[in-house]
């Protein structure tokens, strides 16, 4: 639009706003221009720029604001211009600029880059003391409609800059049904449910158009609304040398001093929407802000939260129309202090307030002690103040110190004689007396017995009165009660901010399994395919044909070094030094108490290098276990956890070897042997094992090639009706073979003897090993129970079912499966020994379970070695 267009707009505005059209004006746009929308619709009433570029800004000047296309949008009038350093940004500027969450933090976030850029353009260097022009303005034309919010279902108008509490007073509503207003966040008397968030302090919450307010009331219990899950709260961590709580004169001075000493400083102030709710070890501050939670990690914390004004305790102190001096100043500034409000002199204490709902009179004592009644519609009190030191007290023992009036010691008020002491909990002076008489006479007990100080203000209003009462009754001043986080209520969303459930790992074949229709389950910290939809078919493929399974979740470690053999001899209860390169050996892992906590295999690559596997669940602890013991033993070994780097696919079944031959493995390794080979073009370490009871070849390979290898095996096995098997089938297959699952068929105190696995321990191997001493001691004690195999006709009982013998519980089932091959249910179970022997039968699930030798299938191992 040409200048003529802007001029025409100006003349239109002048006519509408009764301005002399000859008045000079400027025309400009924000950077970025869309900010002009915030002027019209978002309450933006300030702007700021590099002072060096803002010489022409003067109070009283008019501006036509332009949009991105240069078109005129509205007319504003500058009401004030203040030049100050970037560091000394006026505390209300975050709110007045109207951007983001309207916090000062957001203001800094967007203005620092902007000012840096402008400094660069002007050949200046940006710093904390860079001068900034802070300009406040009012919207002149078109006139903005008065914004409204809804309070207790009623639409009320408010003025720009109002807090919710002021907006309520403006509409004739006492914010919280009664009680002295401090308008400083110290008392519970203005609590409201604001936009579904209960226990919100109306005095600290800026009024925003469209807000929904329900007055809650002092001591009132809010009906906590259900909050939509999409209102998730974010969290952010900041680090600094010094965190200063409170940006009053004392706090700013403390911050300046720290900065001058070269320390990084973060300043926080609830007037900027930064409400410190707790001081934790670290120290770490938990800060509520409109945009989420802040965790401020500081080397030192300075608490400069000032003092809170004393509130009266006397009959009628819960009436509406009572104000502290500071609150009266706020209301007076907004033109809301009612005519007929009287001010009591400094230190003048009311005897009682009179009225019904709202105050109509106040009674005080004159110099001669005679009651004097003054009629009024409001009372301003000036009872002195007490340190607002809850956060400082929370930081006891931490590098947290209070400064200014927050650190000062104030005189206690006279002991209260009647009335409500703690407005949060409704505790009265009579309650205090009752508790005192029952012997609760120290501050901590007093607090617990009365609940005074446990409410939303955490003693900010009642603590001086409690201390005064105890001093009067007991004769000694007692210290304040312990302050603990939180000082403010938080929503459940805030409590959950920044927390995550433990992640579940995925193998490189995760999507492959899903594409095959697998039902994925969490097992041992991994997502694993439980079944592809036909567990029996998967089982039969293994027993009669060929199948593949994803065993990438097995723990895998490389160990090398001059002490590798000696180290592993001390780790494992089986011999290691006699293992020849290319051989595989099953091994238990014992802790120092001789209990089994994991199992796996040992593969020897060469004289000084080994490859180890661990269970899925034990993998995450295996590396730490080995590293700790290597250090403890002083062994010179290299250790590398290969669990995430290597995928593993188990090719199993009577036709597995034939399949692998077709895939390039000309000579599949014999049982318990290993070989390096290229299978389907993928380099693999091939381990011949037999967990399923059938010939099994684990193909360990680079995880990045897992999908390629899986697809190639499936394609090559199509002629054999190859199908993948899930974990459910695998658990059944291994059960028939009598193989244990550590954690499922073991308890925390399972020794090899209790598991019937003495064969996996060689006490005479010539090396000390972890758990050896314990096993020697345990073996001198008669065996009391052991893992046994049982058979039951019919379906499998549930895992965990008790073993009964003559009505007595003699053990429990650990694994169960109805075997299609055997035609009956097979079980692993812990059974108590009776007179040194396992009874031949038990009752399980109302049926007779017969003890049988393990394994259930192929006891000679013919199939697995085929």
């Amino acid at each position: 639009m040409a200048d003529e267009g802007i001029d025409a707009f100006w003349r239109l505005a002048c006519a509408g706003a009764e301005i002399d059209p000859a008045t000079p004006y400027d025309a400009w746009s924000f950077a970025p221009p869309p900010l002009v929308d915030l002027v019209l619709h978002g309450g933006k009433r300030a702007t700021s720029g590099l002072a060096a570029e803002c010489h022409d800004d003067v109070a009283g000047g008019y501006s036509v604001l332009l949009d991105a296309a240069g078109g005129p949008v509205c007319v504003i009038r500058t009401t004030s211009v203040e030049v100050a350093s970037y560091r000394d940004v006026p505390p209300d500027f975050g709110w007045l600029e109207g951007e983001g969450d309207r916090s000062l933090r957001y203001w800094r976030l967007v203005h620092e880059p902007f000012l840096r850029e402008r400094c660069l353009a002007n050949g200046l260097e940006f710093a904390d003391d860079t001068l900034v022009s802070y300009q406040r303005f009012e919207l002149v034309w078109p006139a903005a409609p008065a914004p409204t919010l809804t309070a207790d279902g009623r639409e009320i108008a408010f003025a720009s800059g109002d807090s919710v509490a002021v907006a309520l007073v403006r509409s004739g509503l006492h914010p919280g049904h009664g009680g002295t207003l401090c308008l400083a966040g110290d008392c519970p008397n203005c609590l409201c449910v604001i936009d579904d968030v209960a226990y919100s302090r109306a005095c600290l919450t800026p009024a925003v158009a469209g807000m929904r307010i329900e007055r809650q009331g002092a001591g009132g219990t809010a009906v906590v609304p259900a909050v939509a899950a999409d209102r998730a709260v974010g969290s952010r961590h900041l680090h600094c040398d010094v965190a200063v709580i409170g940006r009053g004169a004392t706090g700013r001075a403390a911050g300046d001093e720290a900065r001058a000493a070269g320390r990084s400083v973060i300043e926080l102030d609830q007037l900027n929407g930064e409400e410190v709710a707790g001081v934790y070890q670290g120290p770490r501050l938990l800060v509520r802000t409109p945009s989420g939670l802040l965790h401020v990690h500081a080397v030192e914390v300075i608490v400069a939260t000032g003092a809170s004004e004393e509130q009266p305790v006397c009959p009628g102190s819960d009436l509406a129309g009572l104000y502290t001096a500071a609150a009266a100043e706020v209301l007076d500034g907004a033109g809301l202090l009612p005519a007929g409000t009287i001010r009591l002199g400094a230190g003048v204490r009311p005897v009682r307030f009179e009225g019904d709902g709202a105050v109509t009179g106040v009674v005080t004592l004159d110099a001669s002690g005679v009651e004097v009644r003054q009629p009024c519609v409001g009372v301003v009190l000036d009872l002195g103040s007490h340190p607002r030191d809850s956060l400082a007290r929370q930081g006891a023992g931490l590098p947290v110190r209070a400064v200014g009036s927050c650190a000062e010691i104030s005189a206690l008020p006279p002991a209260p004689a009647a009335g409500v002491v703690c407005a949060c909990t409704g505790t009265t002076v009579d309650d205090l007396a009752s508790v005192w008489e029952r012997g609760f006479q120290t501050m901590e007990l007093f607090k617990r017995a009365t609940l005074a100080g446990t409410g939303t203000c955490q003693g900010a209003a009642c603590l001086p009165h409690l201390r005064a009462y105890l001093a009067a009754r007991g004769g000694d001043e007692q210290p304040a009660f312990t302050a603990r986080p939180l000082t403010r209520q938080m929503t459940m969303m805030e409590a959950a901010a920044g927390t995550w459930h433990p992640p579940t790992r995925r193998t490189a074949l995760h999507e492959t399994h899903r594409a095959l229709g697998a039902r994925m389950e969490r097992f041992g910290g991994w997502w694993r395919p439980w079944t592809y939809g036909d567990t029996l078919g998967e089982y039969e493929a293994v027993r009669a044909g060929v199948s593949i399974g994803d065993v990438s979740t097995l723990g895998k470690m490389l160990v090398s070094g001059p002490d590798a053999v000696g180290f592993l001899e001390r780790i494992y209860p089986c011999p290691v030094g006699d293992l020849e390169p290319g051989r595989v050996r099953y091994a238990l892992l014992l802790d120092e108490r001789g209990y089994v906590f994991d199992d796996g295999v040992i593969i020897r690559d060469d004289e000084r290098r080994f490859f180890l596997t661990f269970t899925t669940g034990g993998a995450s602890g295996a590396e730490a276990w080995l590293r700790d013991w290597a250090e403890a033993f002083g062994c010179d070994v290299r250790l590398l956890d290969r669990t995430a780097a290597l995928g593993a696919i188990n090719v199993t079944g009577p036709r597995a070897a034939a399949l692998l031959r077709r895939c390039g493995l000309d000579t599949p390794p014999a049982f318990l042997r290993t070989a390096d080979a290229v299978v389907c073009g993928v380099p693999c370490r091939v381990l011949r094992i037999g967990f399923t009871g059938e010939p099994s070849f684990e193909l360990h390979h680079d995880a990045g090639r897992s999908a390629e290898l899986w697809e190639a095996l499936m394609a090559a096995g199509a002629a054999d009706d190859i199908r993948p098997h899930g974990l459910e089938a695998l658990l059944a297959l291994r059960l028939e073979k009598g193989h244990i699952i550590v954690g499922m068929d073991t308890d925390f105190d399972s020794t090899p003897r209790r598991l019937g696995m003495e064969w996996a321990v060689r006490m005479d191997k010539g090396h000390d090993f972890l758990g050896r001493d314990a096993l020697e001691r345990i073996d001198r004690i008669p065996l009391d129970r052991r893992l046994v195999g049982l058979e039951v006709d019919g379906d499998a009982p549930v895992e965990g079912a008790p073993l009964l013998d003559g009505g007595a519980v003699r053990g429990n089932v650990t694994s169960a499966w109805r075997s299609p091959v055997l035609g009956r249910a097979v079980l692993l179970a812990f059974a108590d020994l009776v007179d040194g022997a396992v009874p031949p039968t038990f009752e399980v699930d109302g049926r007779t379970a017969r003890v049988v030798d393990l394994p259930f299938l192929d006891p000679e191992g013919v199939r697995v070695r085929a």
Binding site: G234, S235, R236, H237, L238, H239, R284, H295, H297, G498, T499, W500, H501, P502, P503, T504, R505, R506, T507, A508, H510, W526, L558, S560, G561, P562, A564, R608, R609, V637, R638, L639, L640, R642, T643, A644, A645, L646, G647, D702, A703, G704, R705
Partner: protein, 123 residues
Amino acid sequence: MSAPEPIFCTRVVASPAALDALATDAVALRLAPDDLLLVGAVDVRPDDPDAIVCRDDGWALRRMTAAEASALVADHGDWSVPPAGIAQGALAGLPVKLLIDPAGDALLLVPRPYLADAVERLP
């Protein structure tokens, strides 16, 4: 910022002295005195007969600026980011490694089994 993507690396576990003496132009993360992670396929031969040198497919990598890394850590971790060097810790409950070079570039490495969670949790 782009999402993390699977990469392959070279893992070298050797005596600290052998790793100290190792010369390579590859992006290197010294995870521990005896543990070195090199981004990409790198042919290195540390002076240690027992060294373990192998391809490592266990990682996903995301490139970003140091400023973006700082913001990411501030939003999802409780640790502070050093001006340069390697940092390790949890972000959004996931174990990560962060390499920041003095030029202002950063690499975020996530164990590959957590890749899907990283995409979801670290937008």
